[in-house]
Point group: none
Chain length 188, copies 4
DNA sequence: AATGAATGAGTTTTCATTCAT
DNA sequence: GATGAATGAAAACTCATTCAT
């Protein structure tokens, strides 16, 4: 039972787009990486852009599910934020290609989806304020800052070549962000 | 004798790339926006990518000069960071197209330059630690977080359409970031 | 199933290049002459120059096969040279376009192949000397002279318009060259 | 008293065309090699092709003058032919670039001029027949063969790189051609 | 006469997409 | 569903030629 054809193509596209960028990732290269014929791609996607959207969508859904679930957990707000950071930094180590694609091809036009994630994080923060886990603040600005920080750390990790600056750099980043947030948003 | 031809082309390219993205910004469109013939572009740039590099370079040099000068100023560390935030948020209001280009076309390959800026901010932070303006921390991680936060705020402002969410949103963001940093990195 | 697509394109290219020269033979014209789309050319050739190289290669291989076979035949040296002349002069009558291309586009860079033919003729001459069919001489210079003579005669035939100066002119040329060679290289 | 501008341009064109071929020899490169501005070229030539025609014309006139004068000389026919060979082989050694241009860019369209030279050599041969210096033959075919042989020898010399195969190769070629002709066209 | 910046028509090449098998 | 040859629109880039200075 091999993976479904659609999944094969998604994986192949991630590999090729991460390596060459969306524009240089031709449908021929993707098909060849996936081990299918070009025509087959069009049985599953309506065009090349659609492959990318699908990559974003699958990823968005995973993260949204994670955040939604996190939101429900019996955890302090700072602990929730820490869990979110760890999830992202684990992901960039496990699937650097995917994150490369997400970061590099994140045009304004494709950002819509992310607003959903932003809303979920915002909700976690808002709840934290209500519970007095953290001081009052603009939840949506804080959420934006957090996502910006996460992206920047991941980009830096990927740009460094993913080797030397290994897990340590990312752990340190978690602690710095948590240190900043926990003091910076402390109540009282 | 209005502006130099090279400057005309740079401006036109910013306009077209901001509107359509680098890939869809054809040399014909850029030339026509600049009011010159296609061939003229190639008297000033060796290829289309070179135009983009030049846009990044001009911008990088401006920011680097700003940060270098800021570094020397008789100002507390938090005040320096505030000045940097204000500079960026003023820029995105004054020249949203330019910032759109910088944010949207910032491929990994083109990030090199930014490392220079990162280093300058890092230096400001390191000095702040030495002076005990702020507590000990990983300067380079904090610098990365700050740039990530700035980018995310600017991207959000631009995505919102630059109209309703006007200056107020950006001012609020300055205060949130400063609030976070000043408490989060407070000494003692 | 007429001819292979690659062969269709080769034929069309010969026609167009003979008529307009390599430089003026645009890929559009070649495609249209071949009855295919421009893109199809690039499914069989990596670029325009490659079409020309292929034309030379196919022709070179035919001539090399002819000369190699001739070399083995039970024939006097002069008879072999006569056969070679007749082959060339028949070819120019049967396929003047092809010969036009070969003569007109034979840049220095593309001459490599011809050296192979030169070597084969040289071998025939060297054998002739050993057998005392002809007197000692610089085989490679004689071979060069012969090819030069053949090319010049063919060029003249083609320049004349291929009509009036028909087969007769070429037959006369065979006799003159053979007359010259047989006396000029006679033994004793 | 430097050379005339037109001559400067002719020389520069020969250098550049020999090195890069007519097509790749841009007017910019020629102007730069000549030490003038592109515009200046158009004060002396009506277009790029015209430069090449001029190169051919100057050369044609020199050779025609040489042949016309030779024709009048008190010399045996074979000696005249030898003089012609020596003239050509000296020229290729003294000005290989010029000969490269003449050989490489000798399209059918530009051959007209050469017919004049052919006629002059033909005349020398015809006179030789009348004088019984040589046996009856098709003067025009023999002339064509001779020019073909000369071109082939020169091309070979140039292709070899003009260094190792120096003057010796060319002297040997003179002797081979003369040997062939003097025996091959001997009277009686 | 000399200059060289500006021009824009013209070319090669690419590649997403289609569709007959 | 799968295939991959064929398609042709689209784009970057070149360079001979012009002309205002």
């Amino acid at each position: 039972m091999p993976e479904s054809k659609k999944e094969q193509i998604r994986q192949a596209a991630i590999t090729v787009i991460a390596r060459e960028g969306f524009h240089a990732a031709t449908t021929d290269k993707i098909a060849s990486e996936a081990g299918v014929a070009v025509g087959t791609i069009y049985n599953y996607f309506s065009n090349k852009e659609d492959i990318l959207q699908y990559i974003f969508q699958v990823e968005y859904e995973k993260r949204a599910a994670f955040l939604a679930e996190l939101s429900q957990k019996e955890l302090g707000t700072i602990a929730k934020i820490r869990a979110m950071l760890e999830m992202h930094f684990t992901k960039v180590q496990e699937n650097p290609n995917l994150v490369k694609v997400i970061l590099a091809e994140n045009r304004f036009g494709r950002r819509q989806k992310e607003n959903g994630l932003l809303g979920l994080l915002e909700q976690i923060i808002r709840t934290g304020i209500a519970r007095k886990d953290i001081r009052p603040c603009h939840a949506s600005i804080i959420a934006t800052i957090l996502f910006g920080a996460i992206e920047a750390i991941m980009a830096r990790y990927l740009a460094a070549g993913e080797t030397k600056s290994d897990a340590t750099a990312l752990s340190a980043a978690v602690e710095e962000i948590i240190g900043l947030i926990s003091r910076g948003l402390a109540t009282g």
